[in-house]
Symmetry: C2
Subunit: 308 residues, 2 copies
């Protein structure tokens, strides 16, 4: 059997980690957004790939919500002392990932580097970038166009979100691992992780062929809502959905995924029918490993029920 | 007034730090060996420039003898976990220097980057690389040719030293700052720091024009011996001088600098006349700041006496 999860960063990483534990070894492929990737201090940084990788390796920093557990910040302290850029925090441990990846990308693809890094950490699931080609999310705001991390980290999502585009998406090719997972005859379900539908999932859907392949799926696709009672568990999803006039109801989320999902798992606080889609309610907040595994199992059961 | 010091790494950095404290602000230029520089993990690392910089900034790690004081090693730990190269230790703080330099080298010269880094640390002396062009020391050993850091760090200087060459030296141009210091009408003395004459000073002399300019000097040039009673204070200088059949006497050192120095300061343990050169003896071991300043003052006085 094979399960494909589509994930952004933190929320996606949590469900991915739950699925990894709920499924037999090797069954899970996580296709990850790379629209947030950027070059910083000469390093290629892939925040969502790293969040998923650290979560699957059990190295994710739960208190902070991103980065590596037990992280230290000597590099940043010295960087500031040396007059370097201080707005994007790079932990000493996290930095090893960026340095190794940047070096290896001179020789091999992002898929290959990701396989090497996850392999070194003992991860038995496939973690694949949506594409090996650069796709860069650009946010059109009331203060002009901002590169994703400028908007997200430097400006802390404060500018009003008008629209977004994905530079490079037109020419990007779906990664081999992602394409293989979509075409796998053993595929049993597709799971949309509780990631930001705009910033994390849309870039994945912007890669040519992905939307069509998902629309033409022969297996159930289910999404887990990142919203609880109109609020995002983490991040700016609620603010952005509000600024776009979409709102944060289950129906608004379902509209983002029209034609791409068969079922939507919402929090009990948001329970209720949505036209044209099957919903199921649960306690969707993932506070710890046990929650992650429970929610993952519920998502898998949901998909299985829809296959019948 | 202007003083030019020629330095390699650790020993050179100690005397450079003493000279910086003994001289008026702005009087000192330290021209630094870059033959040890190398690319590692995609980063350009300049060990001698960094040793001098950290010493002048008071950030040098005295216990360890290299790197930054109060250093931590989280990056290396994670690098090893991720399957990266572990043979060259990069401290978390030190890494900021390498990352910033590597990034800036895409836009500006090594001289410019060095000026920026030393400026950010509040260093008022000029620290200049011998050249902005890459020069790479290659050691011919009984185990074949080894890149400098392969010989020095990875193999810990264990292979027998047969000869060395400086790849790129023929085409390298002397750095502007080094050339300016040599030609400065206000120049009053040239000081050879107690660095490895083969590995640290020879590469500087290999840059076209340097040896000639030093030979044609109009000011006294004095060297501080890195040997005490036939032993190197630190590093493989004694081993290498032995393997080359030169020995570690003051006379052997003076022979390395024939025509380039007027005086040689040796340790009291090595006192004695050398044909064709003026020697002076002192307590040359630099244990702390006070020693560094004292020895620096003695070197300056020695040069001044030779000018009369």
């Amino acid at each position: 059997m094979s399960i494909l999860a589509i994930a952004g960063g933190v929320g996606g990483a949590k469900l991915a980690a739950g699925l990894a534990q709920a499924l037999p070894e090797g069954a899970l492929t996580v296709a990850v957004n790379t629209g947030d990737d950027f070059e910083h201090m000469g390093l290629t940084i892939c925040p969502d790939l790293d969040s998923v990788t650290y979560a699957l390796a059990g190295l994710n920093n739960r208190e902070q919500g991103w980065g590596v557990t037990g992280e230290s910040w000597a590099f940043m302290e010295m960087t500031r002392k040396l007059g370097g850029e201080g707005w994007f925090n790079l932990g000493d441990r996290d930095l090893a990932t960026h340095v190794l990846r940047t070096q290896r990308l001179r020789q091999v693809s992002l898929s290959q580097v990701t396989a090497e890094l996850t392999g070194a950490l003992g991860i038995r699931q496939k973690v694949v970038p949506m594409s090996d080609d650069p796709v860069r999310t650009i946010i059109a705001t009331d203060e002009g166009d901002l590169a994703f991390q400028d908007y997200f980290v430097r400006r802390q999502c404060k500018p009003v979100f008008h629209a977004m585009r994905f530079d490079g998406a037109e020419k990007a090719r779906i990664s081999e691992g992602f394409a293989q997972a979509l075409a796998d005859p053993a595929l049993e379900a597709i799971i949309f992780c509780p990631s930001n539908p705009m910033l994390s999932i849309e870039p994945v859907l912007s890669v040519p062929g992905v939307r069509d392949a998902l629309a033409a799926r022969r297996v159930p696709a289910v999404a887990l809502s990142p919203f609880i009672a109109g609020q995002a568990v983490k991040g700016p999803a609620a603010k952005i959905m509000g600024e776009l006039g979409l709102g944060t109801t289950p129906a608004a989320l379902a509209a983002c995924y029209t034609g791409l999902i068969d079922g939507l798992m919402v929090d009990k606080a948001d329970d209720g029918p949505i036209e044209g889609i099957i919903t199921r309610a649960s306690d969707t907040l993932m506070r710890d490993d046990a929650d992650q595994i429970r929610v993952a199992r519920e998502m898998l059961a949901f998909a299985q029920d829809l296959a019948r």
